[in-house]
């Protein structure tokens, strides 16, 4: 881990000497990681597809092993069921799936250092409902960034559609969300519609 110390200006506002005149240095630490997505890799690969991107979820049908019975459907997908400890099955969310804002917030004036140049940043916790007469809702919500013209008008229950980064970065942010029906010029820069999910 490379470490580099440089003297810091004592006039810095954080410098308030008391009894001892303290020495402060500026330290830069650079760390590189080689990260694996492990069993979640199919999900990340799916959203890396740009115009061919897919949203995957996983299913566990071992109802008898679940606390409340019934089938469990997970987005964010997981390779293993947290209740019966069995392996889950991968499925693709179809074009007919519907996505709704469950709750949301917008960072307006402050954010973490990686997002400071993107303000305002809206994040929604999104529910997904499968098509068909039963309209099963996935059991978990997924968090995703939403691009809208006026964040103050976005609310619980609004219907969203996914768009995908044209040049993916192998990050969960390769998928973003817009209001259903948003014209192309309203999509986040560098994001495209997947043929699998019409906006």
């Amino acid at each position: 881990m490379p470490v580099e110390d440089k003297p810091l200006d004592p006039g810095d506002k954080a410098y308030r000497p008391a009894k001892t005149e303290v020495l402060i240095v500026h330290r830069q630490v650079r760390i590189g990681y080689k990260k694996s997505y492990g069993g979640m890799s199919p999900y990340i690969k799916g959203i890396m597809g740009g115009g061919d991107a897919r949203l995957l979820y996983t299913v566990c049908e071992n109802a008898g092993g679940h606390d409340r019975g019934g089938i469990l459907r997970f987005q964010v997908p997981r390779a293993d069921c947290p209740e019966c400890y069995g392996r889950t099955r991968w499925e693709q969310l179809p074009d007919g799936a519907r996505f709704y804002v469950n709750t949301l917030s917008t960072a307006v004036e402050l954010a973490g250092i990686s997002f400071m140049d993107q303000l305002p940043v809206t994040v929604a916790w999104i529910s997904a409902v499968l098509p068909g007469p039963e309209g099963a809702e996935l059991d978990t919500l997924t968090a995703g960034m939403v691009r809208v013209e006026d964040y103050t008008r976005l609310k619980k229950g609004d219907e969203l559609r996914p768009v995908f980064r044209h040049s993916p970065r192998a990050s969960a942010s390769d998928a973003m969300w817009v209001l259903k029906g948003t014209p192309k010029e309203g999509w986040p820069e560098g994001y495209v519609q997947s043929k699998n999910y019409r906006v």
Partner: protein, 470 residues
């Protein structure tokens, strides 16, 4: 639920840094720990040599700090022990996000209750100023899922603001109005900040030599909504501090406690609870509170309340199931069956954001879900300020965070839960004027109290109940 303390455990003394600070470049982290430990030992009337012998021969050490990357130092607890001359001894580090300090104090209790030690010093510290605020915010956000949640705007105030929005979506028009909620939020922010003005050690105290003019002094409700929106619907003054600081508390078995102090404060119940780190994975079960047996005894005796809870989606993103689980365990251990709002005289809770105060009082069973805002919106205003250290919930109510809490006093993450234990101890020992230079926030003769700490967006929560032992 199972659980009991095998031996009585007492809090006997506490200490803190002289001043909590946004940035204290004058002290290394183990020097901050020394300030806190020195005070805790001195208050026992022991020479450090005697204290260290007790720790070595009959005791143990628990040291807590949250994030190694803030100080850029792994195994900082070893350096801390070295600096305090506490080798060789039984020791460990305990960590659990924002609940780190609280978990550490509970670990110390368990060491004594199990008979493994007769005396334990729990020390918590965090030095958060050595990275800038935005980098620090990102470090804290690493306590979310870094695969899925963090890349999507990773920022803790936003996560909490989303929970506040969920609270609004769930309860506005059902139990409370949007205006009442905002009124309550602003009054909570003012209460915490202004309580801290009577605590000279508090980061926002104008008497603290490390404070800055723009972040210290009294505030009024108008200041809160003028402070700028951090993340909708939360304003800057709705949020807690980031702090350099340390805290220490000494605990002992009953026999030793009686030798060390005339004012032991005995632990009556401890509990901690958990929930999913990804808030989107928490259950959203209609009637979940009832179906999962999470009602307190006093709630079960109220048929209208039970019926209301049968219709309520729980916990969703609006409430902390972990807090309710922790409280349920602690209350059961302590034999508390009545309304805890009336049972306790004083609580120090983890007010990371104003919404947390409302959520936590409901999780603790002190108000029905969706109703705790009314406890605060009812506070009177004079010149835009609520009274200093007001009793919450009327004549039978209690005092909430006289210290100023995380919004007014400090949030040096690894120290915070420990600091809350010290605050409760000093309140019960009647030491507030001695320790803080002012008596305005001294609770009159508290006999029972609770302290609470909280990690992440509610993934780990501790609740500890205590009573005066003299």
């Amino acid at each position: 639920m199972a659980g009991s303390l095998q031996r009585k455990v007492a809090l006997v003394s506490g200490g803190k840094v002289d001043y909590f600070a946004k940035a204290n470049p004058d002290l290394l982290f183990f020097e901050m720990a020394m300030q806190a430990a020195r005070e805790a030992v001195a208050d026992l009337g022991l020479q450090p040599k005697e204290f260290r012998r007790l720790i070595r021969e009959r005791g143990g050490i628990v040291i807590t700090h949250f994030a190694d990357h803030f100080a850029g130092q792994l195994l900082g607890e070893a350096l801390t022990r070295d600096y305090l001359g506490l080798n060789p001894a039984e020791a460990c580090r305990v960590i659990g996000g924002g609940a780190t300090g609280g978990l550490g104090v509970q670990a110390a209790m368990e060491k004594i209750a199990s008979g493994r030690a007769d005396i334990v010093i729990a020390i918590g510290y965090e030095k958060m100023s050595e990275v800038d605020t935005f980098q620090g915010n990102e470090f804290i956000a690493l306590a979310s899922d870094t695969v899925t949640d963090f890349p999507n705007g990773g920022y803790y105030p936003l996560y909490y603001a989303a929970m506040a929005q969920s609270y609004l979506d769930t309860f506005v028009g059902r139990t409370v109005s949007a205006g009442e909620i905002r009124d309550a939020f602003s009054k909570i922010a003012v209460m915490m900040r202004n309580n801290a003005q009577f605590n000279r050690r508090a980061q926002t105290s104008r008497e603290n030599p490390y404070s800055t003019a723009s972040t210290s002094g009294f505030i009024a409700v108008d200041d809160v909504v003028k402070s700028g929106i951090v993340a909708t619907p939360s304003y800057r003054l709705d949020c807690c501090l980031m702090t350099d600081g340390a805290s220490a508390v000494v605990l002992a078995c009953e026999e030793l406690a009686r030798q060390l102090t005339d004012q032991p404060v005995y632990v009556t119940g401890i509990g901690n609870g958990t929930d999913c780190m990804r808030t989107g994975e928490r259950p959203r079960t209609v009637g979940g509170l009832v179906a999962d047996g999470l009602l307190f005894p006093h709630e079960r005796e109220d048929p209208a309340l039970v019926e209301y809870y049968r219709q309520l989606e729980y916990p969703g993103l609006h409430s902390f199931r972990a807090g309710r689980w922790a409280a349920r365990k602690a209350y059961e251990m302590a034999g508390i069956r009545g309304n805890p709002l009336e049972y306790f005289d004083l609580i120090e809770i983890h007010d990371a954001f104003v919404i947390s105060v409302v959520q936590t009082l409901e999780d603790l069973g002190m108000a029905p879900y969706g109703h705790a805002c009314k406890l605060f919106s009812a506070l009177p205003l004079a010149d835009g300020r609520v009274p200093i250290n007001p009793r919450i919930g009327g004549e039978k109510g209690l005092y909430v965070n006289p210290s100023g809490g995380l919004i007014g006093q400090m949030h040096a993450v690894g120290a915070t839960g420990n600091t809350q234990a010290v605050d409760v101890l000093w309140q019960m020992q009647g030491k507030i004027k001695e320790k803080y230079g002012h008596a305005e926030t001294q609770v009159p003769g508290p006999k029972t109290a609770l302290f609470h700490s909280h990690a992440g967006t509610g993934s780990d929560i501790t609740v500890t109940t205590v009573e005066r032992g003299w």
